[in-house]
């Protein structure tokens, strides 16, 4: 079956622009997660959704970052006024329920020039 799908796979943007990253979880998975992978910080948790609500958004690095999930399915991570330090690979994962194994997408590589 289909795995976690992320789009775009690569995104190049100019400093100060807004970007939207999309995640399509595995069908039927109720929990969805966003992580960031960067050279300096490694892999970091950003936010977690159970259904459409986000019980844990403690990892969002600043108020420029936001995320939403609609219909208990697709999620969008939005970064406003991008900065060069936002350059990273953004990974999405989903699990059947909170506490189950997380399955990862291939990620979106964001480059801020």
């Amino acid at each position: 079956g289909a795995g976690v799908s992320q789009s775009p796979s690569n995104k190049v943007t100019e400093k100060g622009k807004d970007v939207e990253l999309r995640c399509d979880p595995i069908s039927g998975h109720t929990a969805l997660y966003w992580y960031r992978q960067s050279l300096g910080q490694g892999l970091e948790f950003l936010i977690y959704f159970q259904g459409n609500s986000a019980p844990d958004k403690s990892g969002l690095p600043s108020d420029r970052f936001s995320a939403e999930r609609t219909g208990g399915s697709v999620s969008t991570l939005t970064i406003q006024r991008t900065q060069q330090e936002d350059s990273a690979v953004y990974l999405c994962a989903s699990s059947l329920w909170a506490g189950d194994i997380q399955y990862f997408g291939a990620g979106t590589r964001l480059s801020v020039l």
Partner: protein, 115 residues
């Protein structure tokens, strides 16, 4: 708070020889522990998971890991390396008390296989 330390940033072995990737964890609770693998330009793939059922955990592709509470370790091993094992490996901890909502990753170990 939970954390993991991967003791080697890079491990290089010859094809057909054993692999050992070391991981120590810190957790206030009984943790879930995982090993994930990441091949270039691919997503993270789960190798194996420990959740207190058995201390020796067998995973995919011949990998296994042993949970040692006294040493707070969860080292990953494989008896015989294959060229396809070349990748980045991550040791991961997640608190059982809240479920696996927030995985905490180690810094990763890059495994190189020499022909």
């Amino acid at each position: 708070a939970q954390s993991v330390t991967q003791l080697d940033s890079h491990v290089s072995v010859s094809e057909g020889t054993p692999v050992l990737l070391r991981c120590n964890y810190s957790s206030s609770y009984s943790p879930s522990l995982f090993w994930y693998v990441q091949h270039p330009n691919k997503g993270l793939q789960l190798l194996l998971k420990y959740t207190s059922a058995a201390t020796l955990v067998k995973g995919i592709n011949g990998f296994e890991a042993e949970f040692k509470k006294s040493e707070t370790s969860f080292h990953l091993t494989k008896p015989s390396a294959h060229m396809s094992d070349a990748a980045e490996y991550f040791c991961v901890v997640s608190p059982l008390i809240q479920g696996a909502q927030k995985l905490v990753f180690g810094q990763g170990t890059r495994l190189t296989i020499n022909p």
